[in-house]
Structures are given as structure tokens and as C-alpha cells.
Amino acid sequence: MKTLIDRPPTDDGRRDVLARMPRLRRIVLSRAFQPVSMLLLLAPFVLAVVAGLLGTPAGNRNFGIVFVWIVWWAVLMVLLVPGLGRIWCTVCPIPAPGEWIQRRGIMRGGAKLRTGRRWPRRLRNMWVQNAGFLTLALFSTVILTRPSVSAVVLIGLTGTAVAVSLLFEKRTFCRYVCPIGGFIGLYSMVAPIELRVRDPQVCVDHRSKDCITGNEYGYGCPWMVYPGKLDRNLDCGLCTECLRTCTMDNVVINLRRPGADLAKPAPGRRIDEAFKALIMLACSIIYPAVLFGPWATVKEWAAVESFGGWLIYAAAFLAATLVVVPGLFWLAVAWGHKGSGSDLPVRRAFNDYAHALIPLGLAAWIAFSVGFALTNGSYALGTISDPLGWGWDLVGTADVGWTPYLSGAAPTIQAAILLGGLIFGVRTALRIGLRHGPPGPAGLRAAAPVAAFLLAATLLLLWLYLG
């Protein structure tokens, strides 16, 4: 059996999923695939907005809260992102209106995209997404509990997507602005699925570059990605346009080893990505502490019950996510870096090792989401029958009471998920350390403080859930 360091540095064992599933291939290659998926999801999305604006203010009886922040969130974080990467971005209804306005149609064969401006060069990173996520996170307790605020957020995201689509080219909103897409992209690097080219040389030799320009079979890449150089899931929105436009049949969807993107050499890793990983990990610790912890005062601060309290919460939240956690992580990386004698700049090591936080961060979000869904998932039955809380009983489940599922086993499940994330994260840190060189134990010495950081974060999370 192969061990960690016996494995070759290049990824292997990939399997072309669609080659084995011809029916699925036909569906994915159809031009109707993405627009129809978006349209299907636009209906519950609109219902969530309408319920938020016109329905009951009681969150547990309102479709807009229950189906967005309990059902959708749990499905996204527990199933879709870890299992299928950016598949949500394939079907997400939020950018749909903007994209359709931009294209002047929903599914126009071969129609060219209206040329918009390019997103400013200095913003072609994840900082806008980081700022957007932090802004939403600062008000998340309000968004999670007040249907009208939740609806305003959904309208705001859609409106921003439309505005960005009118001003800028293609899916600029999804690639550089969407606060949800940012962390989905980050965590999609863990997923056992990827869109890649079969042979990069075929792309080099293929002069027409239909995947960029588009052709009668589909649009040029809306995410502004050149598939021939795609080596990570981060920026690919899985829209599958390149599968349709590639006349060389060189684009494939692979099954692969989970986390294959994380430890591979990638000189383009940036500090904005590192901060995304750190912000997400910090939030995965703060949320269970604030929302599930016994500190009522903190909950009231987070819920903006008083402006002064919220200011304290916001200051502590931003300090934790932008200063304390990144600072401690920097110290861990610098400590290991010094001990290893590597001549790599510390900043580069910081950016690289931040990818070791991704498996644990994802595990922490899964643990959080599992606990929340098991406790509150039963509200979904009631809101199916009465989505606006107006006393309807459409399918006879309006009176189903609140029933927590597996309440005794949930902490054990959460602990198992966290331990899995820890092991995955430590192995990723070691892979990065071994690849950085210098060869031998120095790479391990460099990774050891990062492993200690991961352990400390895990113990803190275990304490929050079990301690």
C-alpha cells in the first residue's frame, strides 16, 4: 500500500466521469442543461424572496429562512461542495437574470456575449469576495433569523449580479464579487471532481480556441478561464460551456483523489486566497461559539439588539478573522520556515500552507451545518405545506412539530468529521512541506508548526461542540 510520500507528486488515478455515463454526458452537453437548471432553481429562489418579504416574520415558519439557511445551506456544505465541488455554481439562480440580460436571451445558440468592460486588474483576486463575505457574516445572526432581512440580502445579491453583468464582461460577478462563490471555489479544491483538459498540448496546438471565443455549440468561457491552463478548481464555475465548445473533445470531467489541488505546486497562489482560507476557518469557530454557545449576551450583540453591543461584536469578529487567526498562523509558518532553512520567502510559504487549512475549515463548516440541520431540519416539513406561514396546509405537513434528529449522536458525528478534517489538513501540510524542500526532515520541520496550529484549531472546535 502506498504511503503519503511514496505517491508521485503529479495527480493520478483520474477517471473521465462522462465517458462512463453516456446519458449524463448527453444532458451535460445539451445547451439547455444550465439554463433549465437555473430556471428550475429560480422558482424556489423567488418563493424564498416572496416569503421573506410577505410571509410570517417567524423564521421557523418561513420558507425564506428554513429553505435557504437550513436546507440549502446544509445541502451545499455537507453534500455539494465536498462531493461535487462547484456544482452549485452550475445551477445557481442568482447570476441568471444578469447573464440572460447580458446575453439578450436565455439560450441563444452561438449568440455572442455582449462585450462589457474588464474587471479592474487590481481587483482580479478574492479581496472583494472576502469583504463581501465578512460584511454578510457580521450580520449573519440577523440574516439567519429575520425573513425580511434574508430576502433583502437575496435581492441585493441578485441586483448586484445584474449590475455587474451590465457593466462588466461575462460572469465577473461570480468570479470576483460573489461572497458565496468565493468560499465554494476555495473548498471545491477538496472535492473529488474536476473539469480539466485531457491533453494540454492539444489546446496549445488548437488555434481557434473555441473554449474562449465560443461557437455554435456554446459560449466562450463565462468565467474567463482558459481550460488549457486550468489546474485547480478555484476559478472554474463548472458551467460546462467548454465541454460543449471544444471541437477537439479534449475537455473532461474527472473523478480524482480528493484534495488533489491543495498540495500541488502552484506559484500563482495569492495572499487573498490564504486570507479566504483563514477567514473561513475563523468563522467556522466563531459561529458555533456565538450561535450554539451559552453566551446570550454575545448572541444579542451579534443580532444587533443594541448598536454598541454590535460594535463590540464587529470589532472582535474582524480582529479574530483578520488579525488574530492570520497572525497566529503567520507565526506558525514563520517558526517552521525558520527551522527548515528553506530559502523560500515566508510570504510564499504563508500562502502555500494556508491551503492546509482548507480541509479542516471545510470539515468545521460541515460539522456546524450537520448540527444545525439535524436540530432544525424538521421545520422544513411545516414550511413545505405553509411556505409563507399564512395557515395553509398544501401537502398535509403544516402541523408537523419541531423534532430534533440524532440529538444524542450529533456531537460524536461532529467530532468524527473534525478529526477527518484534521488528518486531511495535516497530511496536506506535510505534502506542502515536502514539496517546498529542502529535502529530508527539514520539510517536515517546516510543516510541524502548521500541524500544531491545525491541532489547536481542532481542539478548540472539539471544546465548542463537546467540551
Partner: protein, 159 residues
């Protein structure tokens, strides 16, 4: 006498290390943690108010008996104790009482089970039944996981 080939020695060594790791994990999961506390009865009054329980954290020991008097000081609230599946409803001015044996170690959240306002889903408290075996076992497993991963790679590098 023929010496085993290096590859065979390495394979045996790897099997031995994995067997040891498995035994260590089983030990951490299964070894009983003794409790030296004499069982006692706790009489506790829990006040439920939007959106907190007071006290918000209870510490008892396995084998203790917990007598709860539940009161509500503003609106109707509920009290659901995870893991013990105790569910009670309390109206302002009418105290509810129930008793249970703290026979499961660990941390269990109690939460409001009657919608009481916007922060209702997050109106929670914690009952910790010590010794908190699940937490200590999970912590020990985390340490073992990190140590084993580091050591396994170190062994491979030196081999």
C-alpha cells in the same frame, strides 16, 4: 538461517506500526474513565427568558440526579435536552418540574423547544455530565492523529 529481505522487513514494520496505532485508538475509545464522585442530587432552578437560560451551563457528574424547576420570566418557552430527549413547556408564572438521572457522560445542549422570537433557534444552554469522556477521547484521538501522521512520514523519510 535466512534474513528477511529489506522490503519484507519494512512491510512487517509497517504492519506492526499500524497494529499498534489501532490498539492505541481502541484503548482511547474503550478504556473506562473512572469517576470518584459520590452520586448526589442537584436541585436546580432554570429560568428561561428571551433568549437565554439561566444558568446557561450546568455541571454534574455521571450518576447524579438532577431535579429541575423550570420557570419562564417573559413568554412561553420550552426546554429540550439533547441526548436525554427530555421535553418540557413552561408558561410564565407556572413552574414546571422534572427529574432525570445524569447517566450519559458528555456535553448536551438544552434548547428552547417553543418558538419564542427571532433568536429562538439559538436559545441554548449546556449540561456537562462529567467526567466528559467524549471530549477527552476526541481530544486524545486528535493528538494521536497528528502524531501518527507526523511519525509515519518521518519514518518513511528516514527509511
Amino acid at each position: 538461517m535466512t534474513l528477511p529481505a529489506p522490503a519484507e522487513t519494512s512491510r512487517r514494520s509497517m504492519i506492526a506500526r499500524r497494529a499498534f496505532l489501532l490498539l492505541l485508538v481502541l484503548f482511547v475509545l474503550l478504556v473506562p474513565i473512572p469517576s470518584f464522585h459520590t452520586p448526589r442530587t442537584h436541585e436546580i432552578t432554570i429560568d428561561a427568558a428571551q433568549y437565554e437560560f439561566s444558568p446557561a451551563r450546568l455541571n454534574v457528574n455521571r450518576g447524579d440526579t438532577v431535579q429541575v424547576t423550570l420557570v419562564a420570566s417573559d413568554v412561553v418557552h420550552g426546554f429540550y435536552l439533547d441526548g436525554y430527549e427530555i421535553d418540557s413547556r413552561v408558561e410564565p408564572g407556572v413552574a414546571e418540574q422534572f427529574t432525570f438521572a445524569a447517566d450519559r457522560p458528555g456535553k448536551f445542549r438544552y434548547r428552547c423547544s417553543v418558538a419564542c422570537g427571532s433568536l429562538h433557534p439559538f436559545m441554548t444552554g449546556e449540561l456537562v455530565v462529567g467526567p466528559n469522556e467524549p471530549f477527552w477521547r476526541a481530544g486524545a484521538l486528535a493528538l494521536i492523529a497528528v502524531g501518527a501522521t507526523l511519525l509515519s512520514v518521518r519514518k518513511r523519510r528516514s527509511a
